[in-house]
């Protein structure tokens, strides 16, 4: 046994190396005209009207963008108000009959991937499902201002709205790309998620789904008959690796050509810069991170919060933090301090006022005016025997928030504020958050491209207003901004609402990062759309 085992091992190793090299050579030859994108999230249900609840992931949305074309797309300015900032897709044009009626004329060249023409019947069918709260509760809520969608012939669709407002075109086109009625109208909505259409969808987009290998990758092939021009990259692989180390290893080893979310960690940046075949592309992101102040007492939700219901304390915390320093530590130069709850993807970011800089003396004055003094000399302010101690809840899954939490704790200590960090397992953190059991919640949200979404968290009756922040002036200003009734700069009513929110300080708005992508240099005409990373992939080419 001692003699033959090493020989056997050597033979086995040699055979495996030979097999391995042949498999490697075979795959290398298949790379030209293709792209492997590595990402962290497995798309599971990339079907419009079904991306609800747990299926409402960015991974699903980004894949759906390749398979299904919208009536119109957001233009480069990402302006969601008005009718002019959009790019024709399935609809070649649109006109207004009046302030509550939009008419779309479909491009007669548009075809489903099975060759059947895209017609107005498809749009009506899709909108019926999207507007049904029993099928798609989130979509139905977003589309509640659409009162009817009707077909006029095969290529004309008429959308009617309950009232005039600035984002009618956005609502009609962004949320639900049309589905093929001829394939789906016989499938009951309740069983669609389990139907064969999910694994072999037929879309109208630039790419078609070839195969899904669960938890590994999704393969797409160019739609040869795509009416807006055949994509130059023939084969797209969306490769899944949940672990950030695995993702960067795939990219740096040449097993992947592009990667999203390069940071965190920040030290991925120099690693990628060290590879001359790769380039970094920062893109505005829909993410915004903030410290949310509970307005109500978490122990007795009927009562105001004993510390944070005082606007002076909230403002003092915001003024006391050096937000530039904080975000530079975790994002480098790839983030900025937002003004209000505005991610860098929202068009109202342009022209908005700048966030206030750190002013520790001003913060101390505010705390003193609110009656918080360090009466016992222990370094922590107190009032009527109660120390100025607050708890910051954050999820253990977010390395960024953990790191920032420690730094925030350090920055608030000199002001006489004791901040206790409460790191919670993710589901527990969400549970505490939604039930209002927190002092300060370290929140991070992803926004749609429309500023109208601000009503969800920052109005008195907002569905996700877990901190119970309520200012009737903000409600009114947001309502004016959404209706788009003011004359002049369309951003101005939004800025007025943001100024009021900043003044109320319901949260300290900390960061809106840029998503950093890495792409191999041999791809040409590379453009990445904020909010939908790979939607313009059909315009890329491979110069190898």
């Amino acid at each position: 046994v001692t003699a033959w085992t090493p020989r056997l091992t050597a033979v086995a190793a040699l055979a495996m190396m030979l097999l391995a090299s042949s498999a490697s050579a075979q795959s290398s030859s298949g790379r030209r005209g293709s792209i492997v994108i590595v990402t962290g999230e497995q798309p599971t249900m990339p079907i419009p009207t079904l991306m609800e609840g747990t299926a409402g992931t960015i991974g699903n949305q980004e894949l759906a963008d390749q398979l299904f074309l919208r009536l119109a797309g957001l233009g480069p300015t990402l302006i969601t108000a008005g009718d002019r900032g959009f790019v024709p897709l399935l609809a070649r044009s649109w006109t207004r009959r009046d302030s509550v009626t939009l008419v779309f004329d479909l491009d007669p060249r548009a075809r489903w991937q099975d060759g059947v023409p895209v017609t107005s019947k498809d749009v009506v069918f899709t909108m019926e499902r999207a507007r049904n709260p029993a099928i798609a509760p989130r979509l139905a809520a977003l589309l509640h201002r659409i009162t009817s969608v009707t077909a006029e012939g095969d290529h004309r669709v008429v959308f009617s709205f309950s009232e005039p407002y600035a984002e009618q075109l956005y609502d009609a086109t962004f949320h639900a790309a049309p589905l093929p009625a001829h394939l789906l109208d016989t499938i009951p909505p309740a069983t669609l998620a389990r139907s064969g259409f999910i694994s072999q969808p037929v879309g109208s987009g630039p790419y078609r789904l070839v195969r899904t290998v669960p938890d590994q990758f999704v393969e797409l092939a160019a739609n040869q008959d795509f009416f807006l021009g055949k994509p130059k990259i023939e084969r797209v692989i969306i490769r899944v690796a949940a672990d950030p180390d695995a993702r960067i290893n795939l990219l740096l080893s040449g097993q992947a050509d592009a990667m999203d979310n390069v940071i965190p960690p920040l030290d991925n940046i120099p690693r990628i810069k060290g590879d001359t075949n790769l380039r970094l592309i920062p893109v505005p992101s829909p993410t915004v991170g903030f410290l949310l102040f509970n307005q109500m007492d978490p122990r007795n939700p009927a009562q105001p919060h004993p510390i944070l219901s005082d606007v002076r304390v909230r403002r003092a915390i915001t003024l006391g933090l050096d937000r530039q320093l904080l975000i530079h530590a975790v994002f480098g130069s790839y983030a900025e301090v937002p003004y209000g709850p505005v991610s860098s993807i929202l068009w109202i970011r342009n022209g908005a006022p700048k966030a206030k800089r750190q002013d520790t003396e001003g913060a101390k004055r505010l705390l003193a005016a609110a009656g918080w003094q360090d009466s016992d000399g222990d370094g922590i302010r107190d009032r009527n025997g109660r120390p100025l101690t607050l708890t910051l809840s954050l999820p253990t899954t977010s390395a960024i928030r953990r790191k920032l939490g420690v730094m925030i704790q350090e920055q608030l200590r000199p002001l006489g504020i004791a901040l206790e960090l409460q790191q919670l397992e993710f589901p527990l953190w969400i549970e505490r958050r939604t039930s209002g059991k927190f002092d300060i919640d370290f929140a991070g949200t992803v926004q749609d491209p429309t500023p109208s979404g601000l009503t969800q968290a920052w109005t008195c009756g907002g569905g996700t207003n877990v901190a119970k922040y309520c200012d009737a002036r903000v409600d009114s200003l947001l309502d004016i901004a959404i209706r788009g009734r003011s004359k002049g700069n369309p951003g101005e009513p939004w800025f007025a609402a943001l100024r009021q929110i900043e003044d109320d300080a319901p949260a300290t708005f900390l960061y809106t990062p840029f998503y950093v992508y890495a792409v191999r240099r041999h791809y040409r005409n590379v453009s990445i759309m904020p909010g939908s990373s790979w939607i313009l992939l059909r315009e890329w080419s491979d110069a190898r």
């Binding site: 097999l19 391995a20 990758f217 672990d243 695995a246």
Partner: protein, 323 residues
């Protein structure tokens, strides 16, 4: 023998039933919202949450949820994953092959190389080879798998580019490629995760095997075998090793469930699409149906491990009788 099998099967079912019942209620008692994942990026309103709770039966009393789970289990239906919105049986079936391949390869390597090296050490007890292997095995045993995985992926996968640093197959490999190429491709991807997991397990097996073999080699019947003029290979492998196997068989029984649960970190580092990462994500997201499915599988492996150990004892030791 058949009576013993029936008794063991009934025992196994009872153990499974008790384990699953405890798990079901413990999971529900643990804090955390199973719909947390849905609120991860875009917070859901209370109305949307209520709709989703009704869809997954989470608005029902725990007793009714348990009855529904048991009813489904009896029909072979483990429910629908909250996170993936797909049947749990399908999710488990998709990931089981990858787990069996990884775990099976580790077990195979472990119980061939580990046993062989352990026996070599015992035979050469006190020599340079024994001392060197002891030192190596101690280092291997003390090496954290996740750290070793990161180092191997970076060194072999990224710097040297000898093997792929992650995944289970090359997505660009032509669909029409022959089965040899496809097999070779999977083997290339398998090497690093297997190596990572094997270092610790082989080290442990070596230590166990060496200790057991050293003890056996001093027994009088070994001296008798040598005195009878039997070849040394027969003395060691036929007479010695067979009796030194019992501690290692126990180890095998313990290792079997770790096939599924023990490779979570390594699966993550190498993006290996196995059950470990699925179960870990289910814990993180409180995906009750997937958790119950994965727990059922692990509990079944624990029971199977015990059963196989008993059978192996009976086969190897004539003094042990099943009945």
């Amino acid at each position: 023998m058949s009576g013993w099998l029936v008794r063991r099967a009934l025992q196994a079912l009872l153990v499974l039933a008790i384990a699953l019942t405890i798990l079901f209620f413990l999971m529900r008692a643990a804090p955390g919202d199973p719909l947390a994942r849905a609120s991860e990026n875009r917070p859901l309103s209370s109305a949307e949450l209520a709709t989703l709770r009704a869809r997954y039966g989470l608005d029902q009393p725990v007793g009714r949820q348990f009855a529904a789970f048991v009813g489904g289990l009896l029909r072979g239906d483990l429910g629908v994953s909250i996170q993936y919105a797909r049947p749990v049986t399908a999710l488990l079936a998709e990931r089981l092959p990858a787990t069996l391949l990884l775990g099976g390869s580790v077990l195979l390597l472990n119980f061939t190389v580990g046993l062989w090296l352990g026996v070599r050490q015992a035979v050469r007890r006190g020599g340079l080879e024994d001392r060197s292997l002891t030192a190596i095995s101690l280092v291997g045993y003390a090496t954290p798998s996740f750290w070793l995985g990161l180092v191997l992926a970076w060194l072999v996968g990224v710097k040297l580019r000898l093997l792929p640093p992650a995944g289970m197959q090359d997505p660009l490999l032509d669909l029409s490629a022959g089965s040899w190429l496809k097999t070779a491709d999977v083997l290339r991807h398998l090497v690093l995760p297997v190596l990572t997991l094997s270092v610790v397990s082989i080290a442990a097996t070596m230590r166990y095997q060496r200790a057991a073999m050293v003890e056996v080699l001093h027994l009088p019947y070994i001296m008798t075998a040598r005195a009878k003029g039997l070849p040394e290979r027969t003395v060691i492998w036929h007479h010695g090793w067979r009796n030194a196997l019992f501690p290692v068989i126990t180890l095998f029984g313990l290792w079997l469930p770790i096939l599924v649960t023990g490779s979570v970190f390594v699966e993550a580092v190498f993006a290996w699409p196995g059950l470990g990462s699925l179960a870990a994500a289910a814990v993180w997201g409180r995906d009750y149906p997937v958790l119950m499915g994965a727990s059922l599988l692990v509990a079944a492996l624990v029971v199977a491990g015990g059963f196989l150990t008993d059978v192996a004892y009976a086969l190897l030791d004539p003094r042990v009788r099943l009945g």
